[in-house]
Subunit: 271 residues, 2 copies
């Protein structure tokens, strides 16, 4: 019994000491940034990048094998799908191998929808990636999920090798995180757009608002959003609200102003 | 004629070289931060702080004269009203002196509504001030307005002495700037609050979203909001939108999600 246990330990140590191999499936922003981050890991190595369109592959290091053919995909410990959300499930069905660990990187796609022919997992970095924006992966939370503890452990190791904040999250919780991410990223950016339009109408530069935008984001580093909340709706200043609604009376953004104001009024003033 | 002109020049030089005096009227966050910023100026000196409530005055330097009596307000070159927006007009009427330059610091109050017994002006720093948050005034845009060129010049000098970005703005334009500020500050912070609530419902820490929040704000330093826009609504991903609306079906935030999504859909997909 002890003998078997010690053999298992030796196997585990051997396994942990061996470099694990990764194949990236897709060549967009997430793949690009993951590739850069994992490049510095001493435990994981990206051995290949697949993309249907060969052109996108030129931006990946020449040391990697690159292919646009599903038949050429190599044997690896982890396959990371980074194709667009609505293509993930179909793509996972088209893979030609079986029994391998195949994970996607999406916030909104449930793990169980991946093809049954491989082991399933999720490796979701909670960040918005752009082509020309450098990313410090070490501060990005990574939400992982897997079918079994062994795979979860492997994804935890991969996460730990690039980030200080890796957490196991169910598909159900992950979709709430993704919804929250849409709110603080996509919706917030859209409010920047709304303000941009209002400033431009007055021939004023959007740049004027940038210090305020930075301060608004910085403030919640040390203050809860509830404590950081200020403004006409928070203090129930009906005169200013009416004046601002009047400024927007011809604007397509009037509803947004009205809804957000009502919601703040309800939350802080109990009407 | 030349003689008179040269005398005027001498007078102007003398005037410019003399330290100008300021009385702060009100002792809230704006007054506190202005006091700190002007303290380092070599051309302007705050000589007194007035506040109706004596208690708030203790946080101001002991080198300043402090008073809670309107009758004790000193003679100065500029009087800066920092009382709450809805009290500014009434307060300006209650001042006992006449013919002086009296400015307020509000984004939303029209200059002309100030009392006629003094010269009118506006000195609006485009920032959100909190008690415990340090402020770098040098990057804060300051919108100034005055009745005449002489006063505008004086306010420009005051602005230049604490900020690199001082601009003359009419009351009409200023209220649009203030509306834009409400959107990128109050509304954006409220979206942080909405996400905070959604995360808490799942026993997840709001901290997970902070790197994304910072990236969202940082991105528009070098990208227009239109170029930075991503997400389900931008790419017209109806499946994800429906799923997220479903997650919010019992939530008070459903309308906000629906309105912002519709507005993004309209802007980027022409429906």
């Amino acid at each position: 019994m002890f003998h078997l246990f010690s053999k298992l330990l030796t196997f585990k140590n051997y396994y942990l000491r061996t470099m694990k191999s990764i194949v990236l499936l897709g060549a967009g922003n997430v793949a690009t940034h993951l590739c850069k981050a994992i490049h510095n890991s001493s435990d994981f190595k990206i051995i290949q990048v697949y993309n249907r369109n060969e052109k996108s592959l030129i931006f990946f290091p020449s040391t990697l094998h690159k292919t646009s053919l599903l038949t050429e995909i190599k044997e690896a410990d982890i396959y990371i799908i980074t194709v667009p959300d609505d293509a993930i499930v179909t793509f996972s069905e088209r893979l030609l191998f079986k029994g391998k660990l195949v994970v996607h990187t999406s916030g909104s796609v449930a793990m169980k929808t991946l093809s049954n022919k491989n082991r399933k997992g999720v490796f979701y970095p909670l960040q918005s990636f752009s082509k020309n924006s450098e990313v410090d992966f070490s501060v990005i939370p990574i939400c992982i999920e897997a079918d079994n503890d062994f795979d979860l452990d492997l994804l935890k190791q991969l996460g730990d090798s690039i980030s200080k904040n890796v957490l196991a999250v169910s598909s159900e919780k992950r979709e709430k995180i993704h919804l929250s991410a849409v709110i603080v990223n996509n919706f917030v950016n859209y409010l920047y757009q709304v303000a941009n339009d209002l400033m431009q109408e007055q021939s004023l530069s959007f740049d004027l608002l940038k210090p305020l935008i930075m301060e608004t984001a910085n403030k919640i580093k040390h203050l809860s959003p509830a404590k950081a909340q200020t403004g006409p709706a928070k203090r129930n200043d009906k005169k200013t609200i009416e004046k601002q609604l009047n400024l927007l009376k011809e604007s397509p953004y009037k509803d947004i102003y009205q809804d957000l104001t009502n919601s703040i009024l309800n939350k802080y003033n109990n009407h």
